[in-house]
Symmetry: C2
Subunit: 232 residues, 2 copies
DNA sequence: TATTACGATTGATAAAAGTCAATCATAGAT
DNA sequence: ATCTATGATTGACTTTTATCAATCGTAATA
């Protein structure tokens, strides 16, 4: 594995507190690979042979059933994905595909499980990471079950605005069809939902969003830290 | 804490591999309490002061937003709940209420975090538990995003049938209004959904369900282990 | 036994969301 | 600069789901 990726990975919360020898041991069996855009890295149902670490690029986690497909989450560097399947030695529940040219480190799952039995700090870091993941999905579940698609979009825009620095003009982080899928609606409905937010001062030009009056949108969206706060 | 509950809790996967002294230390600050039905044990947003262990009875985890409420999961003995909030020392994302007379052990969260720093086996058990919880929510998320309410009900009935032993006649495990909420629909729609499954051999009398032809229903429901298998 | 309260069901209607087909806009490719 | 492929948008329509109001059924209570 190249030194650059090695250092970046070492800095991840997940690995930062590991004993040197355990981290080195873990990395010994790992390798880094470059993938073009739109490559399926993981297929749901497959055994979880590797823990994946996205070093650069972007990855979409999605699932399918009965000919339908839905986007579950987007992974941005530097972070791991499919950790739960790895530690449980169970099949992947989601598929993963690159959204752009990406660099991924692959760590054999059995090495991860071995390190986790060996290194208490690593085990503790995994706990924190998994608890974080769990809480994220719960928030997303609440978003889906408690809000209409218009409300979900409104809150997404507020989150994204904050994430982009808080200015009244910002860019969507991914293409609309995938945003629609993430938000649990069709692309057609997303288009209509954007129109539905015009009365609250939202205007759209391609991927550029303008929120005229933040407070006006907020009054409609009613953001809630127990759903929308992507920290805690 | 009474010996009976102590022993039952000790047997939980979460605590089974802990060093004796750590478990004893953890239980020193814990206490068991009896609650009548319909008591709110936890309110979302509150700091996570205690890890809860349901010793007997049943507990509903639910969330609210903007005057709406949805049931997220049902806890049956013996298991813990709100583990993620405890280990992250973050506010509860869900509220909890007893569905019947229940016995709950309360373990101070700071003791849990201390034990988790001290005891590698405990940390590892928490990992397994959290990974399990995470995967459950992901499955539920897929169920919600990929299926119509009729399909969700059909698959729920197949799961419940299996859970009840596989016979063609079985009982629903909770009242219909709560089942509706768990499945992400209104009680009115649940009624209609049951009717919609009649052509596939499903009949309902109160809480008693009859599935005439398991395979017929299965052909419609298309159950999938990556969504419906509540083990792995 | 009659009463009452509450959940379940039904019907009518409205709102939300999905589908299908056509068109538009735009970024790359030629 | 033009062509082309793909995603976005729009309109018409259907399906799904929610809402509201009324009624039914049943189990607990008086």
């Amino acid at each position: 594995m190249p030194d650059s990726a090695y250092g970046d990975i070492r800095k991840l919360d997940l690995f930062a507190q590991m004993a040197d020898e355990n981290f080195t041991g873990l990395m010994r069996g790992a390798y880094v690979q470059n993938f073009p855009s739109q490559i399926e890295l993981i297929t749901e149902g497959d055994p979880s042979d590797f823990l994946h670490v996205l070093v650069s690029g972007a990855v979409d986690l999605f699932s399918t059933w009965n000919g339908r497909e839905t986007s579950m989450a987007t992974i941005r560097p530097i972070s791991t994905f499919i950790l739960a399947a790895t530690v449980k030695d169970a099949p992947y529940l989601m598929s993963a595909r690159t959204l752009e040219k990406s660099r991924v480190a692959l760590i054999p799952s059995q090495d991860v499980r071995a390190a986790f039995d060996l290194d208490g700090n690593f085990a503790r870091a995994i706990v924190t990471e998994l608890a974080q993941c769990y809480r994220s999905v719960i928030k997303s579940q609440k978003d889906l079950k408690l809000r209409t698609s218009l409300e979900r979009l409104a809150n997404y825009l507020l989150r994204q605005q904050r994430h982009a620095g808080g200015g009244s003009v910002f860019e969507l982080e991914f293409e609309k069809r995938r945003l629609a899928s993430v938000l649990g609606m069709t692309p057609e409905n997303l288009s209509r939902a954007f129109k539905g937010l015009q009365p609250y001062g939202v205007t759209v030009a391609g991927t550029r969003i303008t929120i005229e009056d933040h407070n006006e949108l907020k009054r409609f969206a009613k953001p809630n830290r127990l759903i929308d706060d992507h920290q805690s």
